[in-house]
Amino acid sequence: MYGTYDIPCKLAWDALTIEITSLSDKLFHYRREGAGQSIEKELISGNCKLKISPVEPLSTPKFITPYLLIEFSTPVLIAPRMGQELFLTCPLDLGIHLSTGANFQLIDIFTLTSSKYTLYGDPSNGILCKYWKSNVFNASPDVQIYQEAVLNLRISNEDTEWMEVRQVVLNAYGMKIFYKDDHVQLNAVMEIGAGGIAETDFENDLPNEGLKKSVEIFYKKKLSLASKNFIMEQGL
């Protein structure tokens, strides 16, 4: 389903249907059924294409926070001065764009996963986060690519004490999602420093051949307002 399509077109996957019909030369009708919603829009546009890509999992059901907290199903204990590459899963939103050359206009966004929010920290100073629970894998797991991505997390403990990590909080501004037909991937780092304070960030580099970078909807909108990394100072 990910990819670029000429319009008019009709795409179906499980209980999801996405359809653009032509009403005249420049007037189109967009309809999406599924993901708990039925959306219809009229589009006035010239020559353009439909692009479906995974996007940052922050807009559904409503954008209220740029942070994503992934809780580990089992805690990870890390010895001092040790590092390891771990694989987690991460929720995805699906973005429907109209593309004219290099320009993309988001016309619809939805998710096929259930959403949940949580608070990182205490009610006075905590940070609201989108919540996701993931198993911890030592190799890239098989995931439902329209629901989840694989998060490749390089975790390292720079402290002189053992650390127990139960969660990772990521700032989704600047989140880079790479995908191909059967795989969606994100790369992030988590460096644990003194006192159990960790810094997390996404990596920008294209991981390997065959993957392409997804359209970043938050990068385009609000990059100047936010830094990309996140400091976890209210517990690991």
Partner: protein, 280 residues
């Protein structure tokens, strides 16, 4: 006689004149520098037009003080102003007591910042959204759409509840079920509903527990945390969902009821739930 010590008029010498000029110059310089710092300090905190008013007040206040200090060097005795100034000062003081009080309260509100524009607040029992914070007053738009102006003195000295100061907020329901219903099953159903709600936060954890064995019902307490932006919508949505789901499972919310037993001679006492001393 040295030119500098030569008397120009009265007792005022050229040195006195120079000192007075220096004091005034220093005052101008100091007030300009202070104005820059005040403007920089308040730039992000309050509206631009209010910043300019405060900056101007600071500028002229410093300038006025430096002028007063320099007056004796110009041969003008301040003692002469004391009586007149004192009487005028008292009169102005009484007249402008509220104005000054509101002004100072406004400045403290700007510095302390217990409320911000756009916050949902309750000030001295008045609830609404903060529309603007002026130097003399704060304006609210109540949830009924009314405009209310509250003097800053009242804002500053009243209890303020800021509903959106923290990122999350808790709400609670008391759900009564019949004594014959399975409370554990009811708790399980409510937990399922809460877990399915995106904005019912995972942490702080929602709580559902038997709170009270009431006169007519077993009362379950439901406590849910939600983002402050979604709190009210979720509160409105959840209660009916809980009621409907419990009813689907045959768990009912009972009406208040009282069982009356009428005693009569010859009544079968075993039908009573307790031993009635009135009956023979």
């Amino acid at each position: 006689m040295n030119l500098m010590t030569k008397t120009l008029y009265g007792d005022v010498t050229l040195i006195d004149l120079s000192v007075a000029a220096l004091l005034i110059l220093f005052g101008i310089l100091f007030s300009k520098i202070l104005s820059i710092y005040v403007r920089r300090f308040l730039k992000e905190k309050i509206a631009k037009e209010h910043v300019e008013v405060i900056v101007r007040v600071v500028f002229y206040a410093i300038l006025g003080i430096s002028l007063l200090i320099s007056l004796p060097f110009l041969g003008i005795k301040l003692s002469g102003f004391l009586v007149t100034g004192g009487v005028v000062g008292i009169a102005i003081g009484f007249a402008s007591q509220n104005i000054v009080s509101n002004l100072i309260s406004g400045i403290f509100l700007i510095i302390e910042r217990p409320i911000k524009i756009g916050n949902s607040v309750s000030i001295d029992g008045t609830t609404g959204v903060v529309e603007d914070i002026h130097i003399m007053s704060t304006t609210l738009r109540t949830f009924e759409g009314l405009f209310i102006r509250i003097p800053n003195q009242k804002v500053f000295t009243s209890n303020i509840i800021n509903y959106v100061s923290n990122p999350v907020r808790r709400f609670e329901y008391v759900i009564g079920i019949r004594y014959s219903d399975d409370a554990n099953r009811a708790i399980e159903l409510i937990h399922e509903l809460v877990d399915a709600q995106a904005f019912a936060l995972k942490k702080p954890e929602p709580l559902v527990f038997v709170d009270q064995l009431g006169d007519n019902s077993v009362n379950l307490m439901v406590r849910i945390w939600a983002p402050h932006t979604e709190w009210y919508a979720l509160k409105m949505e959840m209660l009916w969902k809980i009621k409907s789901r419990l009813e689907e499972e045959g768990i009912e919310i009972p009406f208040p009821q009282r069982v009356l037993w009428q005693g009569k001679e010859g009544t079968d006492k075993s039908a009573l739930p307790f031993e009635n001393p009135i009956l023979p």
